[in-house]
Symmetry: C2
Subunit: 296 residues, 2 copies
């Protein structure tokens, strides 16, 4: 398998699908719709929806069936990026090398575009429920809807804790709580959604959840590393940002080397879990390596 | 029927129920939970959840069955108030005579408390779907979930249009579009939710929708009137606010008298619709009068 090729295929598939959810009508809220599109189409990595699809694909091949849920995740993810970037929260001017939403439009538009994307994610899910006739499939989708609400709740709580403790030295427990909620909850949700929708066995769902927890924490540590060692032109975010804000991160707490060691260990553990699923999990294995080695 | 007594009974019932959804645990996001509680418990009129319950009660008496949906509406309504008050949007310092959320806490907390309330509304709905076993009831609840997502989408679009056109003279079409979305969509949803959950006939649902559209527009016009003629100590909002912002309202467009005439007409039409439902609709009839005569 050519991982990069696979990844691009997934990205393209998701972007083609996302296009269908973008509103182009001429209506009084046209600029709001444009602002939503601006963030949705801003060169995201599509990692989260890809996780939904790849997890589903371990068990079933008809991924069109879980595509709307992958789209819901991407809508939701963009809501969280727009709100996190706001002046009242992280006050970031750039994201993916482009102006952030409130810089491109204005604050009111960015707040409402975020709100609308969060709500649109639920709109997509409700449309899926509405058209599902098979009782058993409906049960799975309702379970996924419920897990979705809980993960987003955790994500928002994590973002709050991140904001509240900026500039303070916090305990490892708090830092991990923060990482597990802010980034981890959503990545965990993606993998579980795919597996649940594919009707995987509970034991398989739990093993994949474990994989997701490893790569979720690894993803956040890698983000911390990129904030110190990344190439601004590639990451699209200013280097040294976390330090300038006196953010408590794995690096500020343990130093660069220890953070790298933890990252290595987590990825090795994640890969070990994919081994249990055999060859069909090759993409998820490569994805774990990609999270470690990515430069943006 | 003593309307004021009935209204107070409903309010008390809703507030007792809301208490169950407030999180009191000692956790890292404790202050976020407090901020959510602060707005939820800030002397709201509870008009929207009351509409859900009163509409349900036209057809069925076991209102506990639709209570979670009434709660979801109140959570949702508070999300919209917190975000509308933000410095980036309406920049209001007071609401219900108390400091607005971002004034009491800070902007980051208010943004995230709003996000969390919107998401919590969906969490409540998903829990309801999860525990509904009867196939037919489940269908009704999924229909309500779907209408919920659409109404919130309209509400956010309406708020956007309101922001974008502040200070501009807009056409009557735009003004009505704005009112129908910003305030109307949610009031319409409340009434429909109650009727759908109670398994009312389509024709009854449509008649009630018509009622909701009348009182929804009336509610917004009354808000405009209170902004000019209200008592600041009672409304809890500064008088002359709309004018100071050069907001285009029914009053700025047609003058005070014409706005009052339209309000009278809409309420008379709403009352006429309740007559079709006979005596059991007395509360909804009185509620229409209350919307016209309220002083806050």
């Amino acid at each position: 398998m050519d991982f990069k090729e696979e990844l691009r295929k997934y990205q393209k598939e998701i972007e083609l699908e996302l296009e269908k959810y973008i509103r182009k009508e001429d209506c009084p809220e046209r600029v709001l719709n444009e602002a939503m599109e601006y963030s949705l189409m801003a060169n995201g990595k599509r990692l989260r929806p890809i996780l939904v699809l790849a997890s589903y694909r371990l068990f079933r091949q008809d991924i069109q069936k879980c595509m709307p849920f992958a789209i819901a995740i991407e809508l939701l993810h963009n809501f969280s990026l727009i709100h996190d970037d706001l002046p009242g929260i992280d006050n970031d001017d750039f994201r993916h090398g482009k102006l952030t939403n409130h810089k491109k439009y204005n604050e009111a538009t960015a707040i409402l575009a975020g709100d609308a994307l969060l709500n649109q994610a639920y709109m997509v899910i409700s449309n899926e429920l509405l058209k599902t006739e098979n009782k058993y499939d409906l049960e799975l989708k309702i379970k996924v809807f419920n897990e979705f609400t809980i993960a987003i709740d955790r994500m928002i709580a994590g973002e709050y804790v991140d904001t509240e403790f900026e500039g303070k030295d916090i305990s490892l427990d708090y830092l991990e709580y923060n990482y597990n909620n802010k980034t981890g909850a959503l990545i965990r949700l993606c993998v579980r959604m795919g597996a649940i929708l594919a009707n995987a066995k509970n034991e398989e769902i739990e093993r994949l959840t474990n994989y997701a927890e490893k790569i979720g924490l690894a993803y956040q540590i890698k983000d911390d590393l990129l904030s110190v060692e990344g190439d601004e032109l590639i990451t699209g975010k200013p280097v040294g940002n976390d330090e300038a804000r006196k953010k408590c991160t794995y690096i500020s707490k343990y130093g660069l080397q220890e953070a790298k060691d933890v990252l290595e260990r987590l990825i090795a553990e994640a890969i070990k879990i994919t081994d249990d699923f055999g060859e069909k999990a090759e993409f998820l294995k490569e994805l774990a390596l990609y999270i470690k080695n990515r430069n943006k």
